[in-house]
Subunit: 349 residues, 2 copies
């Protein structure tokens, strides 16, 4: 089958905000919670210390200071403030969320045998897998200590449930890896666990700690879930360069690992003939890959409108996230949280 | 240096209870909490399930049903009942403690690259390291969900702190592995984290959930800590066959891994000459081991009374554990908990 050209990026053209404006929206949100965020950063530095095992802060610092966006803790801070919170425990919860995220990254890199994270060598490569496993465990335990300090059993429940769903999602990902029979429902289940569950917990606990009315708490949960789903689908689309074919240096990482993501699922569903089905079986299930296979995969995706289709789903989740915010009156914080939705999908442009 | 014969087992001769009688004591304790233990086993089976990821119960079942003694959850059940508890939440806490223990074993086997656990192939060997890491994470999260259900912030605090100390102890063990400069204080710190912290939490939460007076809660914590310290030192002595030289099939595992345990530290401290010091440096620090080295190590330990010295320390912790129980009136449960102390040290006989 000859390679075909990528589809025109109609979905991208329909996108209202451009990339620079969206980056501004995220910067605006950071600005609105900057004092709280400083407090979160101080708390993280304080709690990642260990009296007896200096290896712990070494490994943690490598990851925490690697310039992550702090998107999840910022969501907690902004959610709590938008819901009218004027105390300080949201800082603890935001640090909790970042610790859970960091612990997950440490264990992920061991499981995926990754060598790079945020452009730097991973901890499992700089130290060893053992350190990554054990320091991750330490951060999980520290996150529980922190959330207990906030003193709310409902908050504890939400974050403990999120931790269980995250781990379950990771095991599910392991079990469905390289399995083309996965299906879209299982994929959505998996990315809910892998990404959306922590986004949802991050925003929901903000509302709970603020004592917001139940409808607003549920709206924050919906916002976080939908934002997280959009975030992960966009990531999975970008791994194939996006519908507008921005081939970056990480293009094809998922492909090489034989990951069954939405673009692959949609392309397999719409495979035009037996040869295409055999191709996907070989490269994803058997992981038997040769020169030119990525180009062939991109061609089949283009033919199937797979990337555009995945983008459409991401934008639907983004719309759901924006709509959920209607439970709150208009305010600079609400505007900035709407802007973060744009920020997430504008990466496609 | 010629090999010398092992020392006569004077410490073992001073031991009051023999091995069979101590086994009876443990069976007696199990009998006293048998109904509660049944409930714990049912709860564990229920909570290790996963709707979406069947791999989770597969891996967990392999370990949970491998015939562990359930020592830690039994301690929680017995502590709560001895402190007068007549509710049901101690069952949740006992299951919590077993989940934390199981999660730790899964991660330990990855970190130690073990191939056998309780006489069976380890999960990391049967499945893979990835499954062990992620299923361990899932069990940690499940343990937090369970402890939250008991609804006591103080209990949460104790168990979250124990989890942090356990992880810190594991990292410490990693950082001091093969380092003869470790010192006895660092060794004690390490085994406190690795073993005693969970024993202590297991017994302390029993007292807290029962609403026992503070002096009794502290006594239970002391009992658990001292019992755990004795337990780990005995394990470390048995790895060299014990002072009475019961060379079993696992003898020398720690030696081959170059682990710096108490017998090694005491032998190094009392090394008679430069040749002995060079020997320990070669086999432990450089892990350059040859045929006959284990026999040579045993000879040096015998010469230094290292195993007897370690046993003496274990028996001192055992005595501390027994004495702590004096905070409670005599009862069949107290008698059985005293018997468990004998059970732990009688493994040396």
């Amino acid at each position: 089958m000859p390679p075909v050209t990528p589809p025109s990026s109609t979905a991208a053209a329909a996108q209202p905000a451009d990339r620079a404006a969206s980056q501004d929206a995220f910067t605006r949100l950071m600005g609105l919670v900057s004092e709280d965020l400083e407090a979160v950063n101080r708390l993280i530095a304080e709690r990642m210390a260990s009296e007896h095992a200096p290896r712990i802060p070494e490994v943690t610092r490598h990851l925490v200071e690697a310039g992550g966006k702090r998107l999840r803790p910022i969501l907690t801070l902004a959610s709590a403030r938008m819901a009218g919170y004027d105390g300080h425990d949201h800082v603890k919860l935001a640090a909790t969320v970042e610790f859970i995220h960091t612990a997950t990254l440490l264990h992920d890199d061991v499981v995926d045998e990754s060598e790079k994270r945020r452009g730097r060598p991973t901890a499992n490569l700089l130290w060893d897998n053992k350190s990554s496993v054990l320091v991750g465990d330490y951060l999980f335990a520290r996150s529980f200590q922190l959330m207990i300090e906030a003193g709310s059993l409902r908050v504890l429940d939400i974050l403990a449930n999120a931790s269980a769903v995250i781990a379950e999602g990771e095991v599910l990902q392991l079990a469905t890896a390289n399995d083309l029979g996965t299906g879209e429902a299982a994929y959505l289940q998996m990315i809910h666990g892998k990404t959306a569950a922590l986004f949802a917990a991050a925003t929901e606990v903000g509302g709970v700690i603020a004592g917001a009315p139940e409808a607003q708490v549920q709206a924050l949960k919906t916002y976080g879930t939908a934002l997280g789903m959009a975030f992960q689908i966009v990531d999975d689309v970008l791994d194939y360069g996006g519908a507008s074919a921005n081939l970056g240096k990480n293009t094809g990482d998922d492909f090489r690992e034989g990951k069954v993501t939405l673009p692959v699922l949609l392309a397999v569903e719409a495979a035009p003939d037996e040869a295409a089905r055999a191709f996907w079986k070989r490269v994803i299930e058997k992981r038997d890959q040769r020169d030119g296979d990525l180009a062939q995969a991109l061609a089949l995706m283009a033919q199937a409108d797979a990337l555009t289709g995945a983008e459409t789903r991401a934008r639907a989740y983004a719309a759901e996230a924006r709509e959920a915010l209607a439970a709150f009156p208009a305010s600079p914080l609400r505007g900035a949280l709407e802007g973060v939705v744009e920020f997430v999908v504008a990466r496609l442009n």
